[in-house]
Point group: C2
Chain length 332, copies 2
Amino acid sequence: MRLTLNSPLDMHLHLRDGKMLSDIAKYSAKNFAGALIMPNLTPPITTIKTLKEYKERILKACGEEIFTPYMSLFFQESYTPEFLKEAKPFVSAVKLYPSGVTTNSECGVSDIDIKKLSHIFEAMSELDIPLCVHGETDGFVMDREREFGAIYENIANAFPKLTIIMEHITTKESVSLLRKYDNLYATITLHHLLITLDDVAGGLLNPHLFCKPIAKTYEDKEALVQIAINADKKVMFGSDSAPHPVSKKECCGCAAGIFSAPIALSALAELFEQHDKLTNLQAFVSDNARNIYNITTPNKEVILQKKEQTISKEFDGIIPMFAGKKLSWSIE
Amino acid sequence: MRLTLNSPLDMHLHLRDGKMLSDIAKYSAKNFAGALIMPNLTPPITTIKTLKEYKERILKACGEEIFTPYMSLFFQESYTPEFLKEAKPFVSAVKLYPSGVTTNSECGVSDIDIKKLSHIFEAMSELDIPLCVHGETDGFVMDREREFGAIYENIANAFPKLTIIMEHITTKESVSLLRKYDNLYATITLHHLLITLDDVAGGLLNPHLFCKPIAKTYEDKEALVQIAINADKKVMFGSDSAPHPVSKKECCGCAAGIFSAPIALSALAELFEQHDKLTNLQAFVSDNARNIYNITTPNKEVILQKKEQTISKEFDGIIPMFAGKKLSWSIE
């Protein structure tokens, strides 16, 4: 059995920089036609100049592959409508991180005060620049996304024409929010469709499945699976693939992030087939994103085959999600 | 400021065996007058012969220190009233592990069927041998102890004269159960009085604070702190100190267990003092246990001093809880 995907997209991707970028970009470039690139480098991407330069480095790292890096800016309270207007031709989104909630988010917003930020949200609305949000509070780890719900609702209410993407949603409450507001959308990762907190900390502790937001309950996972496999138009695939060297994972203080880029499409095919929804994969990994972001993509066919593979134990020194396990689908 | 503790006891301790036992026994032997020794070796302690031999090895590892190892047997469905009668002079408790819920628990009970096990519980009742239980189901990691509550209630109801110790309780629901049944008691660890899931997985992932049962919410922790600092007669200190080599902690699949024996009394003094309850520490770390277990202890004074210490980064190669952090109390 074969499945041809037209221009699959990964709408939430960490490609890092330097040697890591050179090492890992190829795994995304091979499997996808494009990806929304996260801006949380050190220092973060906050200017048009650094954004353009980063894009050049990404394209160079992707070599000959057909692959479009859709660039995002790291939300700053100091952004002006004029700056956003100037940036518009080069950016696909602005990504808002509450300060300190995840890797390299220290420069994020410490207080999401809608009034104080309204000129930015207004400008993004008018310019049709989507707002991507890492939606977690600094509360108890299992409650952070739920608690952030009120902030999503406030922004969605106050700026009804702003496209708001709830990034890497993990709870059934977030799924419910999508139903409530026309201008709320979401990315869903591979790992949040497949794992719960039990996989991270229920048996032995598994640093390679530790991520932010942390994986939640079986009920939460099921809500995500249902909306994904039914290709609801409000959701799209975003891997949040986030490589760290082994020394940052198998250690005393393990960094959050799961490296899934090389296996994402094969694992999604397996999941969608298990639910007899293989025909919906095209919408989840491409069509929905094109509609939500209103983007055209390079033409690129990626062919999946029902052929067992054993996931490599490492890719350029990075341990991937499900290292050593089997998948029933492979990229041709 | 000084605080003299009379015969402090650690009523839940993993001393392991072989070189690990030789390396770490001294930390418990120095600070405590005795401890209830967990029987989950490989293979587990299930016979009088192996129990006596293990006790000898422990005494040898403790050297000259005044220290009584109170021995426990690993609950087996095959135990008979005759065996328990014969074992009675040598054992302080029988420890029941549901199969597979924690380190070396594979030989545990796969189905806690009260009818099937009633002859054992009856015999333990009559012989006045306490039943210690690792109370977790195989459910979702945050719900396991709560789900096990029904089993505690069934046993407590069916065998009202059996002393049942809920080991290392972690939830407010377990605290409530103590109020409901006269024959239910509990041990509380140091770490469950000080940490929540946030400390394990809320920032960077910390394998050295990963344990079973996993640390829960702030509300759960507060319920434990209140019952401990008020020296409720239903609870006693049990460290569940459980050393693992670094290679089993900072790795791909990190083993559950926190090594707290060397710092436990100092950290407890700090906690009790913060709540202005220092005078209750004696009951929590000794008197309550003596009453619950109906044991006499060797006479041993352990003196704590209000003197800052920095916790060692390792003790014989084992990384302790809060390595490198400061405590305001020290053992004299």
